[in-house]
């Protein structure tokens, strides 16, 4: 077999080269992943916190949320957002598929993040919560000033791997024709028949993206660590 990397400088027929298309696909992958990550962190933290509060209805809400979004395959969830929700709620008909995929991936990941946040809060000694309440802080204040600052530091490593997973999982967006890397791989492979070169480039970009997220997370972890405390190390 002979390599043919020239394929990336061929014209796609749409006035751009395959290389330009590849780069825009990478942009879509990163945009889907990062927007979904924001949704997942916000919703996941909220649900994770609800699962630890002393109110059984809120705990039930958090638990149900987690079970619902954890036990349906991501691809099926994406189809639900893309096909089912707009036809039940007609007002959502005009929403671009990018937004739907971001919510699908974000909510899917939020279940996993809720699990980590809950575990992070629960590893803190119970005394911290009691101490916060005993000095007269309200429950939200106890969370804001006592529990969450430590819990979030503890869960940075698992959240890092979830962030890397979100890059990988964004590949499922190909199923609803988001022009991201996997979609590019499938279409460009078909058009050019240079599957190996195309797939290698795409796989390489997934590697780089995940690695970059890993480095950023490590940087954040080092910046926020509390010396001598859990998750602080030194």
């Amino acid at each position: 077999m002979k390599w043919d990397w020239q394929v990336f400088f061929q014209d796609t027929g749409g006035g751009q080269t395959y290389l330009e298309w590849l780069m825009s696909a990478w942009g879509w992958t990163l945009s889907v992943a990062l927007c979904a990550l924001v949704v997942a962190l916000l919703v996941g933290s909220l649900m994770g916190i609800l699962r630890t509060v002393p109110n059984k209805w809120l705990v039930l809400l958090g638990n149900s949320w987690t079970e619902l979004f954890r036990n349906i395959p991501l691809l099926v969830q994406i189809f639900l957002w893309y096909h089912v929700i707009p036809s039940i709620f007609l007002t959502l008909r005009g929403v671009p598929s990018f937004v739907l995929v971001v919510f699908a991936l974000g909510f899917f990941t939020s279940a996993r993040i809720a699990e980590q946040v809950k575990a992070g809060i629960q590893t803190l000694p119970k005394g911290q919560r009691y101490a916060g309440l005993a000095v007269g802080l309200t429950l939200p204040q106890t969370y804001r000033y006592v529990l969450l600052p430590m819990a979030f530091r503890i869960v940075i490593p698992p959240l890092t791997s979830e962030s890397m997973n979100i890059i990988k999982n964004s590949s499922v967006a190909f199923a609803v024709s988001i022009a991201e890397l996997t979609m590019f791989a499938m279409q460009a492979q078909e058009e050019t028949s240079r599957g190996i070169e195309i797939y290698l480039a795409v796989t390489g970009l997934y590697f780089i993206s995940a690695f970059a997220i890993n480095r950023i997370a490590l940087f954040i972890e080092n910046r926020v660590q509390v010396p001598g405390m859990i998750g602080g190390g030194k």
């Binding site: 349906i72 691809l75 996997t182 997934y206």
Partner: protein
């Protein structure tokens, strides 16, 4: 809000479209689980052997597969296997090979953590009473390690079952595809996707409840 109409859903639809896909999903899950655990055990033992020429290839295998999206792995295998064997291969068989190879990487990490969770003193005790490496593994370490990792292995299998829906990328006929084809035939895609979600949820939720019960039952109290 448009009205949903489930009336077309009868036994004929289920037996005509869904059952075939359901059996393929189950078959794919079971084969990939058994093959993946077997291959994963070998990989885990290689990584724990302490010999660089065994550790390095196993680590490379596991780390590479774990950093590529599953959909890309499915596409890679679908592209590469026919090139290697010189003739086309069906999407179903290609999916079975891909999932076995891919899941082995994930199972091996679980096995490795499980084996490492057994205190070192147990291994020394085994050697002290005159066992060799194989005996010590088989009689002392693995029985305890297996107990620790069984719930995690089963949870991974539930994830595997969910991931089988990704064979959509190469057009294999699995459970989701069965629902999709039924939806297209009756022009009721919305209803079939909803039912598909409910079916997946019921299967995965009840399995994860069972795993949770099992976990409480077999926990080793230290």
């Amino acid at each position: 809000m448009t009205a949903l109409d489930f009336s077309f859903f009868n036994w004929n639809v289920i037996s005509g479209f869904v059952i075939k896909g359901f059996f393929f999903s189950i078959q794919l899950t079971l084969i990939a689980m058994i093959g993946g655990i077997a291959l994963g055990t070998v990989l885990a033992l290689m990584r724990l052997s302490g010999k660089p020429w065994l550790v390095m290839p196993a680590a490379a295998y596991v780390n590479t597969l774990r950093s590529i999206p599953l959909v890309m792995v499915i596409l890679w295998f679908f592209l590469l296997i026919p090139l290697l064997i010189g003739r086309p291969m069906g999407a179903e068989l290609s999916a079975i090979i891909t999932f076995t190879v891919f899941e082995a990487a994930y199972y091996s990490e679980i096995m490795r953590a499980g084996i490492q969770s057994v205190p070192k003193g147990q291994v020394y005790a085994g050697y002290a009473v005159g066992m060799n490496y194989a005996q010590c593994m088989q009689l002392v370490v693995l029985p305890q390690a297996f107990r620790n990792m069984l719930p995690v292995l089963l949870t991974q299998t539930i994830i595997l079952f969910q991931d089988t829906s990704l064979v959509y990328a190469i057009g294999a006929y699995d459970l989701l595809k069965g629902f999709e084809v039924a939806g297209k035939n009756f022009n009721r895609p919305v209803e079939t996707y909803l039912v598909a979600a409910v079916v997946y949820f019921i299967i995965c939720f009840s399995l994860s409840m069972l795993v949770r019960r099992l976990q409480q039952k077999i926990q080793i109290i230290r």
